[in-house]
């Protein structure tokens, strides 16, 4: 099953290697891994989408939480209020004939055209990963020359924030007082 872990980690050397080592040791296939500055100085926000069995992933989440420098780790897989957004850059081959058609498709998906050449259009789109998959699907017949996706970042809708969550979901019952 597909799991989503969101974490706040201290911004220090070696942190990336430590996290990578955790997943590599158990042979997990990491679908996407994103890292960027959080709202808290010195803390990086990490989003990891990973395929694996729930029980085994539970163990990885616990081991992740043990890393010195991991300030918060939450398994948000079950959170229905979760917003997941990703960004896509895609370079589509066009001819004078097909260019307008691609422009209308981009419009339909609220994708921006960020570069134009005689033979290509470069599109930038953001949104749910499924929506980006669909966009790629309809663009495929025109010829996708190159694509780059950032991997999804996640955030809860509503007022709750990650920094106030009680850690890994399965650990919640272990936290004392």
């Amino acid at each position: 099953m597909r799991h989503v872990l969101v974490a706040l980690v201290q911004d220090e050397p070696g942190m990336l290697a430590r996290m990578g080592n955790l997943f590599a040791r158990r042979g997990y296939n990491v679908e996407s891994f994103t890292a960027g500055a959080s709202e808290l100085p010195g803390l990086t926000r990490i989003t990891i989408v990973v395929e694996g069995q729930s029980t085994a992933l539970d163990q990885v989440a616990k081991q992740f939480r043990k890393l010195i420098g991991a300030v918060k780790v939450a398994d948000v897989t079950a959170d229905a209020e979760q917003l997941a957004h990703e960004m896509l850059l895609v370079k589509v081959g066009v001819t004078a004939k097909t260019r307008q058609e691609v422009v209308s498709l981009a419009d339909l998906f609220k994708a921006r055209i960020v570069d134009v050449s005689t033979t290509t259009l470069l599109l930038e789109a953001t949104g749910e990963p499924d929506k980006l998959d669909k966009l790629l699907e309809v663009l495929r017949p025109f010829g996708i020359k190159e694509q780059a996706r950032t991997g999804a970042v996640f955030m809860s809708r509503g007022a709750k924030v990650l920094n106030q969550r009680p850690g890994v979901a399965s650990d919640r019952k272990y936290l004392a007082e």
Binding site: Q63, Y174, A176
Partner: protein, 562 residues
């Protein structure tokens, strides 16, 4: 006042109360050692191989509960520490490993004796650091000691570039450590205590499983009071031995692959397991589907990741085992399990631990002689292999926290160097090293350190001419094809003499009492080379992948019974 980086290093260690370190100098480490001359309060023990420095720090830490410190130079010095660091993380032992590194300005250029030791030790340390700025040095060392000893203890490595050691910097030792996110849970929640107490009160056949966590938490007294209050038998893991005196009527000894039969049968027939600071290692549980089939598991550990890792917990409890035991004992009335204890006695009567060997010197007799000579009050450091299991089975530990061995990693060559540290923790009495001839030959160079430091330890070699545990598996499971296991060795008595250590050879059971008396009466170190019967196996033994209730027993014993 300005200090050099190297001076800051030793100032920090002095503030951490470090008075002994084990190490080996080298090019990049020269500034470190140079400054050490100004700190006579720190005694440096020169080992003969860096692996021994890590094991010595480990032995010291296990015996004192304090952080052990080892020092090595860059490159090969640092890589030689690796086995010792891995041994420490597997057994949750607090050590700080200090490695010199090439100058910061040339890191990443494959300079002479440069190795990425923080990369290499990433999976085998609780945490590690490469110091990039002199001003970070004191904070990092403060954190290193704090992380090593708190929560679930473990090794921390600090890599120190040569130019940072020589540059001058300000010294301020931080009072507090700020590691957001690092908050080991020490006190379990009251509702967990209540639930656990109810489980214990309802149990008919409870068994307490005592792991290394009892020693780490210094919870020996709490364990005894708890076991007495609930009138439940105590089974130890390998590292949990000596958590409760072997003389105590509730002490059953070790369970697991080579556990005593009655301990395994108690676990297999239990309806509640109270696991204390132990991680359900495969050598303890045997085949998981067959493990304690009727038992609910109450699992207490300071590391949440250990709970539910191998065996699902009916009632998890994260916390320091000492606190948990105090709280549970207070929450429970006196319980009575005399029927259950009587049933376990029948297990013991049916499957006693006997010596069946008819040769001139059955190896188990050596352990029994050691017990006789020391009254079970000795501090014992064992290596890894058959002799380790015989110690676990036949030596009755009457003294608390008196057994030190490499459990999780099973590091051959551990005992002699670890004893360097254990002996410092117990300076007034000899430490007894029990070691196979295979294990001894992995680190016998440390006899030189023993001699140089005039350590009074006694070395008992169980010399059977084989890598015995592997030979046993070859005999039982691989058609008795002894490939790679016969091993020769030097004349150990002569060899020891050349290091300045007296000794004698023992080759019959009858000689044992006099030989152990001679060893005991020697002021300094002494070596006993015991030529034991080479074809002895460790029994009972649980065949891998089977239930701990289906242990194999010594066929000679079975023949006599029928």
């Amino acid at each position: 006042m300005k200090y050099t980086g190297a001076e800051v290093l030793w100032e920090c260690l002095v503030r951490e109360g470090v008075d002994v370190i084990w190490g080996y100098p080298g090019g990049a480490a020269i500034p470190m050692f140079d400054a050490l001359g100004k700190y006579p309060q720190i005694h440096h023990v020169l080992v003969r191989h860096e692996q021994a420095a890590a094991h010595a720090a480990d032995g010291y830490a296990r015996a004192t509960g304090k952080v052990g410190v080892c020092v090595a130079t860059s490159g090969p010095g640092a890589t030689n520490l690796v086995t010792g660091i891995a041994t420490a993380i597997m057994d949750s032992v607090p050590i700080v490993a200090l490695t010199a590194q090439v100058a910061d300005s040339v890191i990443g250029t494959d300079a002479f004796q440069e190795i990425n030791i923080t990369g290499i030790t990433l999976p085998i340390t609780k945490h590690n650091y490469l110091v990039r700025q002199g001003r970070d040095l004191a904070r990092i060392l403060r954190e290193a000691f704090f992380l090593a000893r708190t929560g679930r203890p473990g090794p921390v490595l600090v890599d120190l570039p040569r130019d940072i050691l020589t540059a001058s910097c300000e010294f301020h030792y931080p009072e507090r450590v700020s590691r957001p996110g690092y908050r080991p849970v020490v006190r379990s929640a009251p509702y967990q205590i209540q639930r656990a107490a109810q489980l214990i009160a309802d149990a008919k056949r409870p068994v307490v499983l005592a792991g290394h966590g009892i020693h780490v938490a210094t919870a020996w007294e709490e364990l005894r009071l708890f076991a007495e209050r609930i009138n439940a038998p105590v089974v130890s893991t390998l590292l949990g031995l000596s958590a409760l005196s072997a003389d105590h009527p509730l002490c059953l000894g070790m369970g697991g692959m080579h556990g005593v039969a009655w301990a395994n049968l108690a676990v297999q027939n239990a309806d509640l397991l109270i696991a204390l600071g132990m991680r359900m290692d495969d050598r303890f549980t045997g085949s998981l589907p067959h493990f304690a089939p009727q038992a609910k598991l109450l699992h207490v550990d300071i590391d949440p990741a250990e709970i539910g890792k191998r065996v699902p917990a009916y009632q998890p409890m994260v916390g320091d085992v000492r606190f948990v035991l105090e709280a549970l004992t207070a929450a429970l009335p006196e319980l009575d399990h005399r029927d259950w204890l009587a049933q376990i006695e029948t297990f013991r009567e049916r499957h006693p631990l006997e010596i069946h060997g008819q040769g001139p010197l059955p190896p188990q007799e050596v352990i029994r002689a050691l017990y006789q000579a020391t009254g079970g009050e000795a501090v014992v450091v064992s290596d890894v292999g058959q002799h380790q299991m015989w110690v676990a089975q036949h030596y009755r530990f009457r003294r608390l926290n008196s057994f030190f061995t490499s459990g999780g990693l099973g590091t051959m060559g551990y005992s002699l160097p670890a004893a360097l540290g254990v002996q410092v923790a117990h300076p007034k009495e000899p430490v007894w090293v029990v070691v196979g001839d295979g294990s001894f030959q992995m680190n016998l160079q440390e006899m030189a350190t023993v001699a140089q430091e005039r350590l009074p330890m006694k070395i008992v070699i169980m010399n059977n001419g084989y890598l015995g545990m592997v030979r046993q598996w070859q005999e039982l499971f691989h058609g008795a094809r002894y490939i790679g296991t016969p091993i020769t060795g030097p004349d150990y008595v002569q060899l020891a003499a050349s290091f300045g250590i007296p000794g004698r050879r023992v080759s019959t059971t009858a000689e044992l009492p006099a030989a152990f008396a001679a060893a005991r009466e020697q002021d300094g170190p002494y070596l006993l080379d015991c030529t034991v019967d080479g074809d002895e196996n460790v029994y009972p033994m649980v065949r891998p992948g089977t239930s701990n209730a289906d242990f194999m027993v010594d066929p000679r014993g079975r023949a006599r019974e029928s």
